[in-house]
Amino acid sequence: MIFSELYSAYYNTVAAVLREAVRRPLGKGELRAIVEENAFGESVLNVIPALTGQKWRLLLPDGSTPLENVPTMPKTTLEKRWLKAVCSDPRMRLFSDSLPDYPDVEPLFTQEDFRVFDKYSDGDPYEDENYIKTFRLVLDAVKNKYPLSIEMTGRSGGTTRFTLAPGYLEYSEKDDKFRLIGRGKVYGKTVNLARIVKCEKYGKPFDAPKNESDSEKRDVVFILTDERNALERAMLHFAHFEKEAERLDGGRYRVRVTYRKEDETELVIRVLMFGPMIKAESPDSFVELIKERLIKQKNCGL
């Protein structure tokens, strides 16, 4: 069962408190800091009185505990089943060659038990040895914050070499691709991992520029007419953006979606997916991009 107190923020918080209290008595300030760090916004109102008031008989009045060991709990069957299931995912090889086995449990699911049915078919080659090697080096560079010297094939087939200060890895389930987001002088900030031909540690100091303009955020506002279940479809479709919806009259809604400038073309296409159920209202530049496509379509003779 997933919904269990064994996995709860409160149990984890109490474990964090006891981890310290088995070593030495805890002061009130320390106790509060641990609860604030591990539990929810209002939890201090419950957890601290329960522990100090000895409703939960785990902490003595001087902040020590009668417990002798740092609290630990073995993995539950559910956790082992989930781990066994994800170990059969081809992407797991990116992280390690030797995977743990859990012989006493069945996997929670197999690759035959589910499908991500609408992801694109040209995903990254997770079983390619060169790709795996690149992935591991890039991840290490992200973790240890060192620059990389990268050789990559461009869209036209030519090769580019550049140095990049890695920031983080970004994965898109729809594209089924990893991208490295970083900062470089010659090349933009996004590098598709599958396009990297060669990658090595850049041994010299590298003064990376900021790429702030690429992350510029913009808002698009559109009017949605709730016909053919468009409201639910659109709200789910745009759910991963920061957004705000407001009800107007006559089954219409005004929706504001915040997106990044570099994703504008994609967003134009996604708005068009909803046909006459969505009308982009602002900004004008976005509306113009929609109109451009519609005008071209009118001249396609359909």
Binding site: I2, W56, W82, E170, R247, I295, K298
Partner: protein
Amino acid sequence: MAYSELIKNFNNIRDYMREFYVYGFKSRDEYTKKSARSYDDERRRLESWLGDYMRFRRAPDGKNVFLSIDSRVTRHNPLYKAWKAKSFTDGDVTLHFILFDILDTPEKELTLKELTDRIDDALSAFDGPRTYDASTVRKKLNEYIAEGIVESRKDGRTVYYRRAGDPDGIETDALSFFSEVAPCGVVGSFLLDKEKEKESNFAFKHHYITGAADSEIVCSLFCAMNEKRAVDIEYISRRNGGKTELGLIPLRIMISAQNGRQHLMAYSPRFRRITSYRADNIVSVTPTDVCPDFDALREKLDGMEKNLWGVSTQGFSGKRLEHVEFTVRFDPEEKHIPQRLEREKRCGRVERVGENAARFSADVYDASELIPWIRTFICRITSLEISDKELEARFKSDLDATYALYGLEGDVDE
């Protein structure tokens, strides 16, 4: 009952979470038709768990509360927090930590009597010690045996208890990644909570997090599939709010990377066909009998995939299959367009029609599922034919309506 940050039942909060996150335009009055207090409590809980993402707006009909989350920025799904808010008793939490303090290694085995005595010892440090009777301790141990964290061994009439072994997990980076992309990823999040390093090196684009609310349902369906069992599900109709009980044989979970919905593909013995059911409309799952036909039914579903665009196995026309084909044109420098058709198609075929045009065609169960995708090629569609002529006409009239929305009726020049 006094307000508590923790909850006993997940279903109420599941609905509120979805409403606040997916929609977020309803006023308090609309939620309070059933119970004003329930709304206030659930809103307060969500604010406590997800305060950083709560937003408020004044509207003519009152204050609206909504969740606004840019899932490309948040490295861990914030909705998982709701799964970590299960309530418990004072006795539960005390007993849990004392039990595992006593059973500190898998090598240590104790009888129920020995355990109860040791628990009393631990509690004797407190004024007015609380004692746990043997039946309470036995009940808790049995719960933990079911969860796999305690093991028991019988020797004659004596039962010995010990903590279960704890095999290695996977490394933190893999946990961070799979807790976001694998089904029932919340379980990975539970494991991640126990790790020292919680910062993730991964961000996620096009990342739909709403499925988190349906984790228990999907988990129960996976368990049933693993045992090749049929299930009884309670299914809610979003149109009228009515609940139906359905007997099904679950065959596969279909997950959308383009809207985050999770669907169950299942065989209905009553209707004798394979149909899809939205996971967020399933209220409960009860496993029933082992189904001897499971393998044959799954094979049937495998065979259906070549004609399945999304999850629908029946179109509006009532025909078994519908034919769809459309042609797009592109400029010589737009080589990515035929590539787009190839990589985005889920079934069917793409063929070049001359130098600068490509045609997609497919036979599918439900042609209406392709319409949004076909619209993504607006600006280059030169022909469209659908065997369901009503649907074809609607595509074209929708296009005319879209032109009209932007004042583009009549002739326009590029």
